[in-house]
Amino acid sequence: MDDLTFLNQIEEISGEKISTCYQCYKCTAGCPVATEMDIYPHRIIRHIVLGDREKVLKSKTIWTCLMCITCSVRCPNDIDIAHVFDTLRKVAVMEHMEAETDTWRFDKLFLDSVAKHGRLHEIETILKYKLEKKDLFSDTKMGIGMFLKGRMGVFPHNIKDRKQLRKIFKKIDSK
């Protein structure tokens, strides 16, 4: 509570003027997954202003967000709320406060695949995710269905200049 550096930190990383929020609730009203959240989106914004660092970073809400950007385009004060949530996820991981780990795990595996091949190798990424979750078989039927319809390939999609791509990833990493 009352961590006044929190607002500055999130405003700085996201570049969004969070303090201009006047709690009109429009973001929450339009959110398709508000019912699945533990803290409504407009309240997350208010908690940031009040400096409730732990409450915000440990919330399920920031991981429930689908990034459909409805809240952002509706905000009367032009706060890109979806982008603020992106920032909060990043900070939550940095400060080891993530309430849910699946989304982050999948995003990381997704990018590993891109770093390795240049493009997403679906089956490899999905299998790795399932292995990490120790849940190999729950979606087997769906996977086979996709495969039979020619909607899931077996081979990776390697780009030619993977060396340059690896350099890009390395440069970002070392920043």
């Binding site: 689908l66 039927k141 780009i159």
Partner: protein, 285 residues
Amino acid sequence: MITLTYYPGCSLKTSSKFYETSIKNTFSFFGIELTELNDWSCCGASAATTIDEKLAYALTGRNLAIAEDVGYHLFAPCSACYNRSKVTNEKIKKDRVLRDEINETIYPLKCLGTIKVKNIIEVLHDHVGIERVVKKIAYDLSSIKVAPYYGCVLTRITKMDAFDDKENPTSMDSLLWALGTELVSWPYKMECCGASKTLTNKDVTFRLSNIIMEKAQSVGADAIVTPCPLCQMNLDLLPYLGRTDKNLPVLFLSEVFELALFGRIGGMSSHIIGVDGVVKKVKKK
């Protein structure tokens, strides 16, 4: 006759390969030439922005730089690729500090933001035009009722102008009208299908996609039409996500073009929810 640089993105080479086929069939009919972007890489989708925003810009910047070198406008049929590319391109054009930073990361490539990024609706609406579409129709689709479904990120572009209204787009409606279909009016054209949660939180994707399917059915649609590969996939996967009720076929916009121009759909067998019912309704003009 125009030429565009084509950025397929990962979906159009795998899970939605038949979308690519139908786009190519439609575009070549109207004399639009597509040259695939040389050695393109993934745009980072929604994953890169969360992990590191700079990485998201760099990944997209790489593709934009290669496209800029060729000089044609970039056509990105996937809504997520389109959104990411459009946003990055605008930022590169206007934000000098960010531009330098991206260029430093993607060196020896370089990007200045000189080309435009376009989606499928824009290309068909602006370059082909409603009048030409109407003139070229060979098949009668008037007995097919469609629910236009734009999905969330196509027009929801923050802090900059979008090609259509961000909350109530109508450009695809105009195209579907020009193709001769009957349109249903429904409030779900922009609702989210559950996006990339299909694997990480299946219940959410099921709930949201199911609502869209239910609503389209309740307003009497014969098919849902979308330009987004992720929306198409999530809705098409509904039988696997747990829906036991009857499903409506989920067509890509370009597949409705195929129906109106050639009377058939090239990638019919790739649909999980069968599309035969809709194809049977097509009559020769």
